[in-house]
Amino acid sequence: MSQTQFAVKPARPWKLSIRSLIPDILGAFFTVFGSLAIVAITPLKGKLGFALVLITLAIITATTVSWLRKDRKAAMNSRTTVLVYIAAAFVIIPLTSILYEVVRLGTAGFSLRIFTEDMSVTASDTDLSEGGLLHAVIGTAYVVFFATILSTPIGVLTALYIVEVKGRFAGLVRFFVQAMSGVPSIVAGLFIFAFWMIQMGNAYSGVAGAFALTVLMIPTVARTSEEVLKLIPQDLREAGLALGATQWRTVATVVIPAAKSGLVTAIILGIARVVGETAPLLVTIGGADAVNLNPLDGNMSAFPMYVWKNLLIGSPNAVSRAWLGLFVLMVSVLIFFAMARYFSSARRRSA
């Protein structure tokens, strides 16, 4: 074979050509129409019936076609491929439904006005053109803000203890923090209730809720910060120490700036985690209807409480209000989530 005169074109002969896909396409058609036929004939009816038949028929068809074309191992491979796609569909479908319904049912009563009024003078039963959720906004803002202020230092210090100082109890602390992230949210609420209210005799208030959320937020902040700090290469620390800096200076001027965006991500993830927590607030903040600007005193509201109260009332308007609250809550969570992703990719870009 001598050198060719024309330019040689790159090709991908392993990519499935249309010809080789014909049996699969035929199989797909057979599956769909066969399912329709079976549903029409047998008592299996409705969307569920069709879905079940479709799935079963898809698995059988794919497996059989591969078995006939090649051999048993190819058949098992095709069967697994179909199953895996089905599993992925089972994940996408509920999420799509959730997002769709929240938007559909939640935007019905949406207007910018709801951010300016609360429910102190409006009954939940009334039409959505009155009343709003300002009290929930302010309540959530307070509670989350205080929780962040409390949990960020503790979480970051914990991470520093595990990664930088590596004290004697580092392994123990790490294990306990991991365990703490599994504590049910109601337990965190009960704990604060027992400690702040029963033991210390306080009433429902915003700070109580903040404390409860802190308990939930610390593990998230600590664990994410720990991972971020671990990613900082050891050379950086050694460079600092080799220049004669103390450990404190090295950490403060070298490590933390390098980990900055990661730590911000950790905090935002913590916020996203707690902003939607319901159970701990149920037992600590009391669920007010009016805007309460004093976090230390008096019942406070928050988004989850707002939704909860309306849900329990149960009338159509109340339920609509609940969905409205859910919608605003979801949007907030998604915003925080997007911010966290932005900061973590900013870290990767500059790293």
Binding site: M1, V8, K9, P10, P13, S17, A74
Partner: protein, 314 residues
């Protein structure tokens, strides 16, 4: 130390080799000529010391042949117009500096190249008269016929030694009559039987590096390949294990063709019957010269080949 083969046959093979590579055939092989002699005597001696096999040249497919292979990663052209014949019953070494596409090339031979998302190729790989890249070809069957041993030994740690050797059969769901016979035969051919025959039910991770690599060789043998590709199989091993594996390679070439990529020129000289020299000048890798190992190391045609085998670069 003189070559023991028949000069006439050597010249015939040279002719067919040159047909394949498209370069001019040399006139004579004058071992005493000064102007083209290689300065490192040891390589030449080593090459000459070895018994050169007379391979059956492939005219119509009973072996593996690469025709006009080009390879790309995205728009980067990494291999240009490689054509090589791999004669049955011989060992072919692929030498050249790192980065010139040798590993990419052998991965094209057993269709592992296509796992990389941006990979593309041109040309044909003919096995038993058919292009392995034809549409409708069952790629898993190709890999049964063209096996591969990797640079880093990679036995399956979740399987025992016995299960490792037979894993190829299990993965392809092949049934055989006497598994124990096959087990012993593969381990013997790989030179590992005596060392592990009493511990076949231990896990593969407990062996030394050299033993693990021989286990991987035994594993590849169990599915009865026609061609065995080896990507620098000894570069992670100590010299003792290396020599034992080279012995194994020589013995295995009685029943199959072996293609070995190596950076170690002495190894190529020791072990192979044919050698191909790859080089890239910053662009795509090219096959500069190929021929019998004797020729490449004693009397290469191209100056670049001579420079490489005499250690002037690389």
């Amino acid at each position: 130390m003189s070559n023991q083969d028949n000069p006439a046959t050597t010249n015939d093979r040279e002719e067919s080799m040159s047909q394949v590579t498209g370069s001019q055939a040399s006139n004579t092989r004058d071992r005493n000529a000064n102007n083209r002699s290689v300065s490192s005597h040891s390589l030449a001696d080593v090459a000459n010391a070895r018994l050169t096999k007379v391979g059956t040249p492939t005219i119509s497919g009973s072996g593996l042949e690469a025709r006009g292979i080009h390879a790309w990663f995205g728009s980067k052209h990494v291999l240009e117009d490689i054509s090589l014949d791999f004669f049955t019953g011989t060992v072919t070494a692929l030498i050249g500096p790192s980065g010139c596409g040798k590993s990419t090339f052998i991965r094209i031979l057993n269709r592992m190249h296509e796992f990389i998302p941006t990979a593309a190729l041109a040309g044909q790989v003919i096995l038993d008269g058919k292009d392995v890249y034809d549409s409708g070809v069952d790629v898993t069957k190709i890999r049964l016929k063209v096996g591969m041993v990797f640079q880093k030994p990679n036995p399956f740690p979740s399987m025992t030694i016995k299960e490792n050797v037979l894993s190829g059969l299990k993965l392809s769901q092949l049934k055989i009559e006497n598994a124990d016979e096959l087990l012993e035969s593969c381990l013997r051919r790989a030179g590992l039987w005596d060392e592990v025959k009493d511990r076949l039910n231990e896990y593969g991770g407990a062996l030394s590096g050299g033993q693990q690599q021989r286990l991987c060789i035994a594993r590849s043998l169990a599915v009865n390949p026609q061609v065995l590709l080896m990507d620098e199989p000894c570069s992670a091993l100590d010299p003792g294990s290396t020599l034992r594996i080279e012995e194994t390679i020589r013995e295995l070439s009685d029943s199959m063709s072996i293609v070995i990529v190596t950076h170690n020129m002495q190894q190529a000289a020791r072990v192979s019957d044919y050698t191909g020299f790859f080089l890239s000048d910053g662009g795509p890798g090219r096959l500069i010269e190929s021929g019998t190992t004797n020729d490449i190391f004693t009397n290469p045609r191209e100056k670049r080949t001579e420079d490489y085998v005499s250690g002037r670069f690389g």
